[in-house]
Symmetry: C2
DNA sequence: TATATTTGCTTAATCGATTAAGCAAATATA
DNA sequence: TATATTTGCTTAATCGATTAAGCAAATATA
C-alpha cells in the first residue's frame, strides 16, 4: 500500500524537460551544466523527495561504497568501540559499513566473508576468530583484488595490512610491573600460540622472565580460548599446584574475571596473596572488586587507522601498495588487583 | 594488480555457446532448461569461479536482500545476542544484515536510517536511541513502504510491528519479590518516561506499590539515561535522603552496577541494608559481588521473532498486514543482591 | 497424417544511474 | 568577417542479471 512509486532521475528529467543525463550531471555538480539547471534539478529533486538508487550507481560505477567489517563478537567494548571509530572515518568518506560477527567460529567467519563478497563490498576490515587456522578464505579476498585490512587478531603469513598493538612489549611491561611488586612466580593464562597476538604475548612474557632472572616453569604457562569459563578452570588448576604462583597474567579480561571469581571464592587475597592482570581494559575491569589491572588497547585509534588504511588502498589503487603494518604501543592501567 | 576481470554470466554463456539468459535460468533451476545445460552451466560456473553480481540482480529485481538493523549500542550482551539470533534467521532466508549503532544519539540514528535507505535495504529492524523523541525519521521509512520492525525500545504512536518483553509485569514481579523480602521503601531509578518501555516500568512499579499498600514517594522515583554514571549519581542522591530506601530497583544493569559501586564504597551491606535489582541480565550481573538480581529479556527469542516478523512482511506484501505486537514474559533471575 | 502441446532455448527490453561521444548555439579570438 | 573555443546540453551505450515474449524443433494427441 504505502509503497509509492520510486522517484528516479527520469521523473526529474520529465518535470524539467531535460535529459536524465543532464539531471545526473547536475546532481554531481558537473561543470558543464549551467547554474540555473543545477538549481532547478535540485529543487525538483527535493520537491519529489528523490533518493538516488544506490544499486544502480554502484552497478554502473563498479563500486558499492560498502565496507565489510568482521569481528569475533560485538559485545565487547573493544570491538564495539573500534567499529564506532571506523564508522566515523568511513562515513565521512562516503562509505557505509556492514558488520558481521563470526562468534569465534571458523565456519561462521567463512560464511561472513562469502556474504560480504556477495554483497559486493569495496573492502573488508577484519579481526580473526579464535578458531581460525586455515587462511584460504582470506586468500580468496586477496585473489579477488578486494582490499583487506586486519586489526587486533591478524596473521603474518597473510601479508596484508595490519593494525594492532605491541603485544610483545605489553607482556614485558606487565612482567616488569609484577616483578617490581615483588612477584617471583608469575603464571600466564594465554591464548593459543597459533594466533599471532597470543603467541607474541607468550614470547614477551617468557623473554621478560628471562630478563628478570626468573625461571621458566612450563606448568605456569597455559593456552586456552580465554573465555570467562576458561579463566575459572585454569585458575582452579593453578591453585591445585604444589607451588602456587604469586601472580597471574591473563591475556583477556574475561578470563581474568573468571580467575578473579575463583580467587575470591577461595578467599585468596588479591593482590596480597596473588596479583592479577588482565588484557583489553574492558569497562568491567574497573567495576569489580578488586578492580583489575589491565592493558588499554587504544580501540579508537585502531579503528581510525584501520579505516584510513582501507581508504588509502582505494584512493591509489593503481600503485602497487606498500604493506602497512601499524603497531601501536599499549598502556598498562594499574588497578587494585596488582597494586 | 591481483584485480582479475570479474566473471559474468556472459563469460559462461560464451564458453558454452548459449545465451546469457539461458545461463541465468540454468543457475536458478528454471524448469524450461534441460538438465544437460544446467549441469554444464554449473560446471563452468565453478571452473571460472563465478560469483553473481549482487548489485545487478538486486537492481533488476528491485530487492537488495539486505536488512538494516539499528541498535543503540552493540557492546551490550542483550543487543549483541539479539543481532546474532536475527542473523541466523535472516541468513537462512537469504538475507544479510547491515548493523549500525546509534550510540543513543538522535542525530546518529537519523543518519543511520538515511544510510540504510540509501543502501536500498529491504527492511529495517530497530531499537530506538535514548535521545529519540521526534519520530519523523521513522515515519519516513513507513512512507517509503519499507517494512519496519521495532524491538525492545519501541514506540506505540508509530503503529508498527513490535517485539519486546512485558515491562509492566516485570516491574510488578520485582516489587512483589522485594516486598516478600520485607522491603518497605522501594526506590526506582528508571529511564525517561518518554520512552515507552521505561514509562511502562515506572507504571508497573507504581501500581505494584499501590497493590501492596505501600506509599508512593516521588523522591524515590528518578528518571535518567541509565548509564553507569547515572546509577552512581542517583544512588548517591538516594543515600543523602533523610529517609533512605531499603531497596532500589534500577531499570538497567549498567546503572544498577553504578549504584552497587556506591553502596559498596559506603560500606552499606547489600542485600541486608539495601536490596538491589537491575534489568537486562547482562553477564556481569552474575560476576560482581554481590551478584545482582536482574530481569532476563529473552534476547534470542526477541531476535528470532523480530526477524520472522520482517520475513512475514516481505512474503505477503500484497495483503494489508495486520499489526504484530509481540510481548514476551520476562523472567526474574534472583541473585545475592536481593536475596 | 494434421494439429496441438511441450521443450529448450534466443531475443530484446528492463532495472536506474553514469559517462563517452557528439552536436548546436553562444561566445571568443584572429 | 571567418574560424576556434566554450557552454550546455542530448544521444546512446553501459554496468550484469533477469524476464516477458517468442520461435523452432521435438513430441504428443486426435
Amino acid at each position: 500500500m504505502g509503497n509509492k512509486k520510486r522517484i528516479t532521475i527520469k521523473d526529474i528529467a520529465n518535470e524539467l524537460n531535460i535529459s536524465p543525463a543532464a539531471v545526473s550531471k547536475a546532481m554531481h555538480n558537473d561543470s558543464r551544466i549551467s547554474e540555473k539547471t543545477k538549481q532547478a534539478v535540485k529543487r525538483v529533486a527535493k520537491e519529489l523527495d528523490y533518493q538516488p538508487n544506490h544499486l544502480a550507481s554502484a552497478l554502473r560505477k563498479g563500486k558499492s561504497n560498502l565496507v565489510g567489517v568482521i569481528v569475533p563478537k560485538t559485545n565487547s567494548n573493544f570491538f564495539s568501540s573500534v567499529i564506532e571509530s571506523m564508522e566515523t572515518v568511513l562515513n565521512k568518506a562516503g562509505y557505509s559499513i556492514i558488520i558481521t560477527q563470526s562468534n569465534e567460529s571458523f565456519e561462521k567467519e567463512c560464511k561472513s566473508i562469502d556474504t560480504l563478497l556477495f554483497t559486493q563490498v569495496d573492502g573488508i576490515i577484519a579481526s580473526m576468530a579464535n578458531e581460525t587456522v586455515d587462511l584460504s578464505h582470506y586468500e580468496k579476498i586477496k585473489s579477488k583484488g578486494i582490499p583487506l585490512v586486519l586489526f587486533d587478531r591478524g596473521e603474518n603469513d597473510l601479508n596484508v595490512d595490519y593494525v594492532g598493538i605491541n603485544d610483545y612489549d605489553s607482556s614485558q611491561i606487565i612482567v616488569k610491573h609484577l616483578v617490581e611488586k615483588g612477584c617471583k612466580r608469575i603464571a600466564h593464562i594465554g591464548g593459543f600460540r597459533r594466533t599471532r597476538i597470543f603467541n607474541n604475548r607468550i614470547k614477551g612474557y617468557v623473554d621478560a622472565l628471562i630478563k628478570h632472572n626468573l625461571p621458566i616453569d612450563d606448568s605456569l604457562i597455559i593456552e586456552s580460548s580465554l573465555t570467562l569459563e576458561d579463566g575459572r578452570r585454569e585458575m582452579e588448576h593453578l591453585l591445585k599446584l604444589e607451588n602456587r604462583p604469586d601472580a597471574v597474567y591473563v591475556a583477556s579480561d574475561y578470563a581474568a574475571l573468571g580467575a578473579l571469581q575463583v580467587l575470591n571464592e577461595n578467599n585468596i587475597n588479591v593482590p596480597d596473596s596473588v596479583r592479577l592482570i588482565g588484557f583489553g581494559n574492558e569497562p568491567f575491569t574497573s567495576l569489580v572488586s578488586p578492580s583489575i589491572t589491565s592493558v588499554a588497547q587504544h580501540s579508537t585509534e585502531i579503528g581510525r587507522i584501520a579505516a584510513e588504511t582501507f581508504l588509502k588502498h582505494v584512493s591509489n589503487d593503481v600503485l602497487k601498495q606498500s604493506l602497512n603494518k601499524i603497531i601501536l604501543d599499549a598502556e598498562l592501567i594499574v588497578r587494585d588487583s596488582s597494586n
